[in-house]
Symmetry: C2
Subunit: 491 residues, 2 copies
């Protein structure tokens, strides 16, 4: 195990060079941080309607060692403005924070604020442990020190945190019979699904946006993600797809020549000289993935890249690809080797992936990428070197299930919306068919990652407006049905 002074450095080093790339596993967040639309909403402070609270959270819910009883302050934020109140058992919409600080959620996760009036809902946003201000062990540095302090950082503990806080909130505001709808996107969408499955006594239903709950073990084909990325590009332009597919060997050929890397530096206007062709390839690889995943209708980055590729004729294929980069990133003084801010998400998710969130994503055939398998053994070695512990790739399906989910849940559970946009490469690991009358797949052919839970905008395409309407209608039905049940129950 690496001792503390080295870990931050290693994380940084690895997140740029090995982690993020060696295993070619794209990020899993409701919004694309670095590459996507540069939303100002991310930086705005939330309005005064939001009040911050801290809950004394138990460090380890599933253990009774004296250390397990340690508590840490967990942040949650409430908006009371729209709430119909406890007397009418008005609903609670609870956003289950994913692998990031909760700060921007109040502005970004518009599904909550946009629908608060409609539901007369109390809005609750809960931060995930080990992110933002919800840090055990007194400081982030201590919490991330090594596997002994990171060990408590996992999804089962996070779900128990949410349960404890929601039970506390309901008690605090005498809202015993207020139905709770949990909402989450991406990893947060997995948490929302699992929360409804494990804590039906706390949440009446879940909206799980772009939650690839089936991208574990052997349930989804490993190359599924990049098959969709490829399809997205190919559907926009066959020639664009071909240029990209051909570019990899072109890059290798140029790089292998003497002075080849500086040729690439020039073509791609790199911020600092490339140390290897892999650096460039990694960058492109993730640009294509991010463009496809966060293909927001306000700018359609896949089209933007392909337009540039198709309309550039200087410098051959590499000139085309470079034009794609410039178009995607916009006017900058240089590209590729830009300084990268290591975010909490990068650091935190690296641990989560190395412990339990082992999503085996590879390329293989049928993609425009060079073939790369997900090698469990080297992933395991890599995680071991980083943290001194080995991933548990089977735990997610052991605890949450996933195999044969239609067969298993057809007569079990209720009230989950699995929403997806089929252009989102992660949708391949989502639930895309109704499982039962109340375990529903709501997807759009043209949507990308988590669009439905983002703030509505008058420029939103009709299909997105419709998707959100459908979701609100379903949730309304659940709540109405619950109120009818409640009236009978209280008789």
């Amino acid at each position: 195990m690496f001792s503390s002074p080295w870990l931050p450095f290693l994380l940084l080093f690895l997140s740029n060079s090995v982690t993020a790339f060696q295993f070619r596993i794209p990020r899993l967040s409701p919004i694309g941080e670095k590459f996507l639309h540069h939303s100002k909403a991310l930086e705005l402070p939330p309005s005064d309607d939001f009040k911050t609270f801290y809950f004394n959270q138990t460090l380890d819910h599933f253990n009774y060692r004296p250390e397990s009883y340690t508590t840490f302050p967990q942040r949650y934020i409430i908006n009371f403005k729209y709430w119909g109140g406890a007397n009418s058992s008005a609903p609670i919409l609870a956003y289950l924070g994913p692998e990031a600080p909760i700060d921007s959620a109040m502005n970004v996760i518009g599904f909550m604020t946009d629908n608060a009036v409609k539901f007369n809902a109390l809005l609750v946003y809960i931060e995930h442990r080990y992110y933002g201000k919800s840090i055990p062990f007194g400081s982030r540095k201590e919490a991330l020190r090594n596997a002994s302090t990171l060990g408590y950082f996992n999804s089962a503990q996070a779900l128990a945190d949410y349960a404890a806080i929601l039970i506390h909130v309901k008690k605090e505001f005498s809202a015993k019979y207020s139905p709770v709808i949990v909402i989450g996107g991406s990893y947060g969408g997995m948490l929302a699904t699992w929360f409804r499955l494990k804590y039906p006594h706390v949440a009446l239903g879940a909206l799980a946006s772009s939650a690839p709950i089936l991208y574990f073990n052997d349930i989804t084909p490993e190359n599924g993600y990049y098959v969709i990325v490829t399809k997205d590009f190919r559907e926009v332009s066959q020639t664009c797809y071909e240029s990209i597919r051909e570019s990899w060997s072109e890059i290798e050929t140029v790089a292998s020549q003497s002075n080849g890397l500086s040729v690439l530096d020039k073509v791609f206007k790199t911020c600092s000289p490339l140390r290897s062709s892999t650096q460039l390839e990694n960058y492109l690889w993730f640009m294509y993935a991010s463009a496809a995943q966060y293909n927001h209708p306000s700018r359609y980055p896949v089209n933007r890249i392909c337009d540039a590729i198709d309309q550039t004729y200087s410098n051959g294929t590499l000139g085309k690809i470079a034009a794609g980069v410039f178009a995607y990133r916009g006017e900058l003084s240089c590209y590729i080797n830009e300084p990268i801010n290591t975010t909490e998400t990068t650091v935190g998710w690296q641990w989560q992936r190395c412990s339990e969130m082992v999503m085996p994503i590879s390329t293989g055939n049928d993609t425009m990428f060079p073939s790369e398998t997900f090698d469990h053994e080297s992933f395991s070695i890599y995680c071991n070197q980083l943290y001194g512990v080995t991933p548990r790739p089977h735990w997610v399906t052991t605890y949450y299930g996933g195999h044969d989910i239609h067969l298993i849940l057809h007569r079990f559970a209720s009230n989950i919306i699995f929403s997806n946009g089929l252009k989102d490469p992660y949708s391949i690991g989502g639930v895309l068919h109704n499982i039962s009358d109340s375990l529903l797949a709501v997807y759009t052919a043209n949507g990308s990652h988590c669009l439905d839970i983002l703030t509505a905008n008058r420029m939103d395409p009709e299909w997105l407006v419709t998707q959100r309407k459908t979701e609100v209608g379903i949730i309304k039905e659940w709540i109405d049905e619950y109120y009818a049940d409640l009236a009978n129950y209280k008789k």
Copy 2:
């Protein structure tokens, strides 16, 4: 926290004098060990049809500290004799071991063996961690050393153990689509319920016999248990009930006189002199509770005690009570202060109660016992003195639910039989009304604790035969429905 050399002594001391009695919480096992019918089955080795296996179990499923990865051998036992095999997806009946070694289950839990042929079932018996041969930390002494080693000893970890083993067994015997029915009684019945709720992808259904899943927090009236004990005695004989009710003050009166304790010694033929009247009271208290709880139709101990009480006229009320003791225990050279073997169950359950299984049971009004409240604060102090950790009385309802269970589960979950016998005082904390079409309460008016899962006997009363038939019929329906679903699914 007590350090190791003292703990075993303290456990022994407390189990006899404080634990078992101070909080008047009766044991919670499928069979009554000390007081009940002296079944030879307990001592018989199981037949050669049973094969023992050990699984390398993870110490802590919900944590990724390096220590969490430690493994320990967990015992499970399989009977292959009746199995229809993987090709026909023949069912698996899995007995989830409760707070005791698994050894006697093969003979005692007849529901498994009695119905194996009918279901062509594979029989699997899994031992609960920290009992029998399923001990972490290399030895029982180490495992029970203190809260740091006991911390991993809880129900959530046990359920994850069962999931891991059942998934392993299904894989090992290529039984991917074999439906699993989990079966448990008492605490094991709670585990069976919770297992179906948390791991529906591993178990198709659960038979939860005499599982007081609602005896937590404020869901069930605290005096419920002893109200039923009282009712059981009163229904057998009003005069018996009155004698018992009056006896407590009588004991106090005699005990307070000079030489009073030796008078009691003489009347009750104690094995060694009483040190206090409490000793005698505790004994009687638990005798009545056990007689009611384990009121097996083969001997009906409540009737036996009452017959003796009603038919004895020498030595007044105390003579009657003593006659009850003699009748209950049978011919012995002495009574009351008999040497007690501290069982694994006594020791293990004490920890479980002090950590999460906090069932607040008191007497209060409407009982034939002196009024005693369950004082959470002194219980907490007591557990703290013993183990250095504080109980988490709200964890069970946070993780498993329980409040408003009919409202919550009416449209969630499926395939659980909550079986009870209404003479069992724990039935007051059980589910006694159907929650939905497949969450079913199957109870008998005259039954006691866990009768339905014990080995059938040609002397069994008709109502017990019927109860078992009903249960088998329901399980058969679940399996048939599953096979129909499976056929559709595979199409």
